[in-house]
Each structure stands twice: as structure tokens, then as C-alpha cells.
């Protein structure tokens, strides 16, 4: 009892850090930046400068309460509730700020979320995710939570709550292209992953069976992994261009020095190492006695591979696939540079126009996609490991 009392009164270190960050963001950093148009630098506004006094006080009080929970409450369920409340408060505040600062009918001024907003959002979101981690929900529950939060976010965006914010202004202008590039982004990431699995899985099995092949294959794939993405695109440009020039059929199939083909090929190459290495590692982890017994009982090599070895190696292989998928979702962004499309199009266009809102229109969905992919595959791996425990 004394022990739990002592624990209850101890200050949570992560909570202290998050509370300090949040307080600093709220007091000194701009919550929103008001710009007369999308290019001009704007002037910074703190939360209290934007919201009416009553709303501002309510916000501050809410955030103070959340900070206190972060500092001193050990119960993860309370911490989760407080973190989620924080996300809602911060989101509502920025939406309100957008609506209040934008004159009616004006489509030129921009209200951009400022560094204070992002830091506050990060602090409360971290608090919520940390609480979820401490609660150790079952994999299915984690996927449900992801779906729920995703649906709420998409719902709020579709409802128009944030329409006066700069990023949503960029979205409104680019809505058609956004849908297209989002699909392209997902397609590039998944197709290169699928191609990599088709090649890497047999290659990994072969490396496991033939030890002499293993060192050489893994070393070569390692070298590919060290080439920066932009350099790899450059390296692939010449041979693919030559191929397209020499073989008209290849050109008709869309294989060119720039565009989708080199993008997919580069992502495919990057994807090989994690899948091959994890396939080898997974197969090595399989108990030799189990394989020996399987052989002794008259299972064929194919039966041993599919019913024993691969099943036992699957969680490790899926971990490799998770690494690749998250990595690819990030790397696809760079593919925009060589005309491969994807959300990177907005990032590089935004950089070119010094329009940071456009950059964020590409970057934020990319991060969200990678996060969702990580949660989904982690849940899958864990549910498999649980099934056999």
C-alpha cells in the first residue's frame, strides 16, 4: 500500500517532459501564423491572441489539467483519456482559429498552424500513444483503435471543420490530384513490396539452404541498401532509358528512364535486403530437431518447407515485410523527383514554390500512411506470436 502510494506521488519523467514542452509551446511559440497570401511570410499569433478570452481560458484550463495528469497520474486509462482530450482541444482550437481569422468569403489569406500548434499536438498525441503502449491492448484492439481514430480524423476533415486552415486550402485546390497521387503512392509502395516478396522469399530460402550463397547475397543486397535513393534513381535512369530505346516493347510497357518504372525498380531493390535477411533469420530459428523429426516421419521437402519451416519463420518474415512497407512509404516520396508520382509531388512542388503548406499536404499523409502500416503489421506479427504461446 505504501509502495503504491509512493508510486502514485512520483512524478512521471515522460509526463514532465511533455508537460514542459506543451507549456513552452503554449506560452512562447506561435499557435498559428496569419499570412496575407500563401507565399508571403506571416505574423505569429499565440492561442490567447486568437481566441476570445473565455475560449482561451477554457483551453488553457483544459491543457493545465492534462499536464497535471501527465505529471502525477499513474493510471494509463486516465492518461489515455487526458491525451485524447488534449488532441481534441488542440484540434478544436486550431480549427476555431482558422475560422475566426479568415474574413468571410476571403480565399487569399492563409491561417497556417504554427510551431506551437504542432508541438502541442505532438505532446498530447505522444501522451496518448504512450498510454496505449502501457495498456498493452491486444492486437485486434490496436487495429480497431487505429480504424476509429482514422475515421474520426477523416470525418472531421470531410466535414469541413478545418477548411479555413492553410493545408486544407491547398487540398481544396489540389483535391483531384491529391486523390490520384495518394493512390499512386500506395500503389508504388505495395507493388514494389509485392515484387520484392516474390523474389526475396525464394532467395531467402535458397540462402538458408546454401550457406555459401548466403554471405555473398546478403553482402550484395547490403551494398544496394547503402546507395542513397536519389543516387539509385540516377543510376537506374541510364540503363532503363537505353532499354526503352533498344526494345520498343519495353517502352510501350511503360519502361523508361524516368517515371514509374525506375521508381518501382529502386523501391524493389531496397526492399530485397530486409525480406531476404529476415527470411534467413526466421528459417534459422526453426528448431533443427523439428525439421529432423518431420523428415523422419516422412514429410516431403515441400511439406516440411510449407507446413513447418515457413510457418515457424512467418513472424520473423513479416517483421521484415513491415520494415520494407514503412520504409517504402517514406521512400516513394523521393520518386516524385523522377516523375514517379506519389505524395512527394506536393512536397517537391511546395519546396519549389516555398509554399510550406503544400509540402505538408504531401508530408502529413505520408507519415500517417507509414504509421498506419506499422500499427497494422505489428498487430499481425504479434497476433501470430500470441497464437503459439
Amino acid at each position: 500500500m505504501a509502495d503504491t502510494m509512493a508510486r502514485r506521488h512520483r512524478i512521471d519523467p515522460l509526463g514532465a517532459l511533455l508537460a514542459a514542452l506543451g507549456a513552452a509551446a503554449l506560452l512562447w511559440l506561435p499557435f498559428v501564423v496569419f499570412k496575407l497570401n500563401r507565399i508571403l511570410p506571416g505574423d505569429a499569433r499565440t492561442l490567447s491572441q486568437v481566441l476570445p478570452l473565455s475560449a482561451s481560458v477554457a483551453c488553457d484550463a483544459g491543457l493545465l489539467l492534462i499536464a497535471l495528469v501527465a505529471l502525477g497520474v499513474a493510471d494509463s486509462r486516465v492518461r489515455l483519456a487526458a491525451g485524447l482530450l488534449g488532441v481534441i482541444i488542440v484540434a478544436a482550437a486550431v480549427a476555431t482559429a482558422g475560422n475566426l481569422l479568415t474574413p468571410a468569403g476571403n480565399r487569399v489569406v492563409r491561417v497556417a498552424p504554427g510551431s506551437g500548434f504542432w508541438l502541442l499536438l505532438a505532446a498530447v498525441a505522444l501522451m496518448a500513444t504512450d498510454a496505449i503502449t502501457r495498456l498493452r491492448p491486444r492486437p485486434a484492439v490496436r487495429v480497431l483503435m487505429l480504424a476509429l481514430f482514422g475515421a474520426i480524423a477523416v470525418g472531421a476533415l470531410a466535414h469541413g471543420s478545418f477548411d479555413h486552415l492553410s493545408i486544407m486550402r491547398e487540398y481544396a485546390v489540389n483535391a483531384d490530384r491529391f486523390a490520384r497521387e495518394l493512390r499512386q503512392h500506395v500503389w508504388l509502395a505495395l507493388s514494389s513490396l509485392a515484387a520484392a516478396i516474390v523474389v526475396a522469399l525464394p532467395l531467402g530460402i535458397l540462402c538458408h539452404r546454401v550457406p555459401r550463397l548466403r554471405a555473398g547475397a546478403l553482402a550484395s543486397l547490403n551494398v544496394i541498401q547503402t546507395i542513397p535513393a536519389i543516387a539509385l534513381y540516377g543510376i537506374l535512369m541510364a540503363p532503363l532509358g537505353a532499354l526503352a530505346a533498344a526494345v520498343p516493347l519495353a517502352a510501350r510497357l511503360g519502361i523508361r528512364g524516368i517515371g514509374t518504372a525506375p521508381a518501382v525498380l529502386a523501391l524493389f531493390l531496397y526492399s530485397l535486403l530486409p525480406v531476404v535477411a529476415n527470411t534467413v533469420a526466421g528459417l534459422r530459428r526453426v528448431s533443427p530437431a523439428a525439421v529432423e523429426a518431420a523428415r523422419g516421419m516422412g514429410m516431403t521437402r515441400w511439406q516440411i518447407l510449407t507446413a513447418i519451416e515457413l510457418v515457424l519463420a512467418l513472424p520473423t518474415i513479416l517483421t521484415g515485410i513491415r520494415i520494407v512497407l514503412v520504409q517504402n512509404i517514406g521512400l516513394v516520396t523521393v520518386a516524385a523527383l523522377i516523375g514517379g508520382g506519389g505524395l512527394g509531388v506536393f512536397v517537391f512542388q511546395g519546396i519549389g514554390q516555398t509554399a510550406i503548406d503544400l509540402v505538408l499536404l504531401g508530408a502529413i499523409p505520408t507519415v500517417a500512411l507509414a504509421f498506419a502500416a506499422a500499427v497494422l503489421l505489428d498487430a499481425l506479427v504479434e497476433s501470430m506470436n500470441r497464437a503459439r504461446q
Partner: protein
């Protein structure tokens, strides 16, 4: 009956098994014993062709084992190994059902067989069928391993150091169980071990291997009383060979007629146990009784000692 004919295995230039010929009796336990590197495991693994012989042949009931695909041959032969090799992702019932399923048995027949084996191995089906191997103790895992090897009712069971990973007390129990199982199913068992006590305890016949050759292949008592090679007598142990000999005969077999006394011993106990009991009690004779209490006769110190001498 299994007939092994001039069986050899070479790896590169090294001969691991060297022209071994032996006949293995049906419905009995034959033990191959030897030090590590003697080729005993390789010999065993050539019977079910986990290792393909370099030369020589193996016949089971007259048919050459090389004549059918190796994996089909293995499905007819039970195989149990040290550390049991259970599939960690499959339940006890699924593990046991492995070979019956490979053979395409009807599900109902598979279920019935699994339940029968679990009860024979003293594992409650309701409690154990759905468990995963890591939820079992070492002794239970080992029993499931043997049950799995016997699942498809093989006439022949090969065991490679099956009790090697068990601690001594559980090992003794496992050996006892194996003898009971062998009597129950009448399976022909070939077992490989490096443990001479285990060999003498289980084997009706024991083959001693060294450097790829079978030095002597006979009944345990003959190995002790008439070793064919210095290595055999070294392996069987010179110092306690008389006690080993006593341990091969049961009190029931050695009982002689005579008056009954108060001190009793079970007919299944060995003469070694009987002598130990007499020494401990300071008695001169002990009455031998069956499990149902019938008096089988008696043993005196002198009659026991007579069994501890060769010839």
C-alpha cells in the same frame, strides 16, 4: 524381421559405418550402443533412409527398403529422437496426428487413434490434446514424441537417444513406460544409446558398435559373460559385471521351491534388487510373490550368488 546386409556409409574418405550385417528380431527391443562417433546413429538412420547407404541393403520383412520412395518408407516406420522434435506451432493432438494425416486417414479414425495413444501414455486427452508442446514438462513432451512416432501403427519404431535429454528419475520412468508400450503394441523397436545401463535395461539383444563396426551383437548376459572384444568388456564394465548380470534376471525367473518367510519381494524385481534387500535386512532368504500375491518360491543368498557367475 529386419535384415541389414553389408551396410556401409562413407563421407568423403571417412567410413562411418563399415559393412554392418545384422538381423533384428520381430516384436522385441534391439539396442545399438556405442560411444559418440561410433556410427550408431548413422546405422539407425540408414534403416529409414534419412541417410542413404553408400553400399549394402536393408530388408524389412523381405522387401528391399531402397525399392520405394524414401518418404513413403518413413511413413511406415516410427521415428523418435532426442529432444523429441515436436512441432512448436501444433498442439499435442495435431503433433500426434502428423503421420496418420500424411497417410490420409479419415478424421474420425485419426481422432480415435490420438485419444487411444494419449490414454496409453497416461496423458488425459481432455487436458492435454489442445496444449502446445512448450506447455508440457520434459517428460510429457518425450511421451508425446513417442506417441507421435507410434501414431500410424508402425510395425517398426526407430529411436535415436530418445531419453538423452531427460533427467535420471524421469528417464527411469520413461524406460519403464517404453517396456510396457512395447509389450502393449508388440512393436519392433531399434533404439540407439550411449548409455550401457539403458541398453541392458531395455534390450533383448544389444549390438556394441565402435568405429563403424558392430563388435558384438547378442543377448545382454552373453555380452557380460563372453565379451567378444576388450572394448565390449570395457563398455559393459569389469568391476560390476557380476551385479549387471544379476540385474538381468528377475526374482520370478530365479525363484526356487522352499518354505515361505515373512520377508517378501516382487517377482518382477531383479536379483540385484533381491540381493540388496537381503543384505540390508541381514536376512538369508526372501519369498518371491507375484503381483496378485501368489507365492512363486524363494531366493537364498547362495541361490542368488550362483546367478552372478558366468556360465
Amino acid at each position: 524381421m529386419i535384415s541389414i546386409d553389408q551396410l556401409s556409409k562413407q563421407y568423403g574418405g571417412t567410413t562411418v559405418v563399415d559393412r554392418v550385417s545384422m538381423d533384428i528380431e520381430r516384436n522385441s527391443i534391439t539396442v545399438i550402443v556405442g560411444t559418440s562417433g561410433s556410427g550408431k546413429s548413422t546405422l539407425l538412420r540408414m534403416i529409414n533412409r534419412l541417410v542413404e547407404p553408400s553400399s549394402g541393403r536393408v530388408f524389412i520383412d523381405g522387401s528391399d527398403t531402397a525399392a520405394e520412395p524414401a518418404h513413403l518408407l518413413r511413413r511406415r516406420i516410427g521415428y523418435a529422437i532426442q529432444g523429441n522434435g515436436l512441432f512448436p506451432h501444433r498442439t499435442v493432438a495435431e503433433n500426434i496426428a502428423t503421420v496418420p494425416r500424411l497417410l490420409g486417414w479419415q478424421p474420425a479414425r485419426v481422432r480415435a487413434r490420438v485419444e487411444q495413444l494419449l490414454s496409453v501414455f497416461q496423458l488425459d486427452a481432455a487436458q492435454f490434446a489442445g496444449k502446445f508442446p512448450h506447455q508440457l514438462s520434459g517428460g510429457q513432451q518425450q511421451r508425446v514424441g513417442v506417441a507421435r512416432a507410434l501414431a500410424a501403427e508402425p510395425a517398426l519404431l526407430l529411436m535415436d537417444e530418445p531419453f538423452g535429454a531427460l533427467d535420471p528419475i524421469i528417464r527411469g520412468k520413461a524406460q519403464e513406460d517404453l517396456l510396457a508400450i512395447q509389450r502393449h503394441f508388440g512393436t519392433t523397436i531399434v533404439l540407439v544409446t550411449h548409455d550401457m545401463d539403458e541398453a541392458f535395461r531395455l534390450g533383448s539383444r544389444v549390438a556394441v558398435m565402435s568405429q563403424g563396426r558392430v563388435l558384438q551383437y547378442d543377448r545382454p548376459a552373453v555380452l557380460i559373460t563372453r565379451p567378444a572384444d576388450p572394448f565390449v568388456s570395457q563398455l559393459t564394465g569389469l568391476a560390476d559385471r557380476a551385479m549387471r548380470l544379476l540385474s538381468l534376471t528377475t526374482a520370478g525367473e530365479a525363484a526356487v521351491p522352499g518354505p515361505s518367510g515373512a520377508l517378501e519381494i516382487a517377482a518382477s524385481a531383479s536379483l540385484r534388487d533381491a540381493l540388496s534387500e537381503l543384505l540390508w535386512r541381514g536376512a538369508d532368504s526372501v519369498t518371491v510373490v507375484d503381483a496378485d500375491g501368489t507365492v512363486r518360491g524363494r531366493l537364498t543368498v547362495a541361490s542368488i550368488l550362483a546367478h552372478g557367475r558366468p556360465g
